[in-house]
């Protein structure tokens, strides 16, 4: 799985950071940053849920 984030779209709801803190973080303004673009399988369910919950469609997953 490859994870991409679209910072201009992010609205700082913070839900991805709560769900998958090993993969997503926030910058000083609360905008999403990526800690791990190629997370291990143990994170896949949380990352998929993060993408589904993101209100601004700022998380994109490319399944390998």
């Amino acid at each position: 799985m490859r994870v991409e984030v679209d910072q201009p779209k992010c609205v700082a709801s913070g839900q991805c950071v709560l769900l998958a803190p090993a993969v997503f973080d926030q910058d000083d303004d609360g905008i999403v940053t990526l800690l791990d673009a190629d997370p291990g399988p143990e994170h896949h369910a949380d990352v998929r849920e993060s993408a589904a919950i993101c209100p601004a469609a700022a998380i994109r997953l490319v399944e390998k």
Binding site: V11, G14, Q26, P55, A56
Partner: protein
Amino acid sequence: MTETFSHTPDDLAAFPMPRAAGCPFDPPPALRTRQSDAPLSRVRIWDGSTPWLITRHDHMRTLLADPRLSSDVTRPGYPHLSAGAKAGNDARRSFITLDDPEHARLRRMVTAPFAIKRIEALRPAVQKIVDDLIDDLLAGPKPADLVQAFALPVPSLVICALLGVPYEDHDLFQSNTKAIVHRASTADQVVTALTTLTDYLDDLLAAKLARPQDDLLSVLATRQVATGELSRRDAARTGVLLLVAGHETTANMIALGTLALLRNPDQLDLLRGADDPRTTASAVEELLRYLNITHSGRRRVALADIEIDGQTIRAGDGLVIAGDIANRDPAVFPDPDRLDLTRDARRHVAFGFGVHQCLGQPLARMELQVVYGTLYRRVPTLALATGLDELEFKHDGVVYGVHELPVTW
């Protein structure tokens, strides 16, 4: 008002619809019927206009994520909440009533304090506020009104600290907020309340400009107002939005959530016995879903023709997107009318969806986790001091809740 429109010749149902007697936590039964029989159909609102009523969870998410829907309250066709809300539009102009890119520009000026780490850093201070208020409650007479003694002060103290608003002024912002969030308020009442609050924030911003402190208003004053990025009046409007939204909604969740838990003692026991903070966090999501206090619907107007599920929403059509019934959609939440703190409720839409989704949600979550995780343990005998049918619910509120919650212990 409901009566006036319920017998219109074309028989189009009036919105908002009444809740069923004795079911204060459930959305109006007519919304359930709409969701199953006509999930995309029209209703008649207070001014006689006939916006679409959106009732399904998937439709709500699809539409609120669609940039062809506008939140701009000045556009023709926008379905206003009430005469008062419509009249207050100019005084209320802030990112919540604007579309991108202006919405994003203004919103990003105030996102920093709501980042998860910043919110987590506030948790000990919120815990102390909650503990101190419980100490006062227990030391005072009983029965007591939980709204005035606890539910309202907790988020008011927190948002005051975050914004840099003196809590001594709480009578001023709480009483004006009451006028703003009451659907039956007249146009004059809403405009006066909004103007009073905007003037108040405007003066505070001037003081912060002269002597900045460690709070959000000081950041707005020194980074945006001083540089000319934002006028002081616009900054004041943003401040009003954060102050009003920052205490009224959470206060209602605390009081109504407590009532819902007292009426579901098995769930209350489960929450009280939880050792894992994740259980409390999950309970917060379920209470947000179940209560969905923003019961007036998310309001939008279409900028273009939009095809959805075989229907065409035309450019200029208004939309009322009813999150309360979307959060009871059985396609997403099995047995949706049951309060089940163990369910996975994360896909709820209590904070809305799309780019306008609640800015303060990380703060609301943390406050509610502290409150729900503390109050019932510290006051294990907490009980309603009156009958359910004696309580007055905010049927006419922009946000739902109880006016008073008499409790004893």
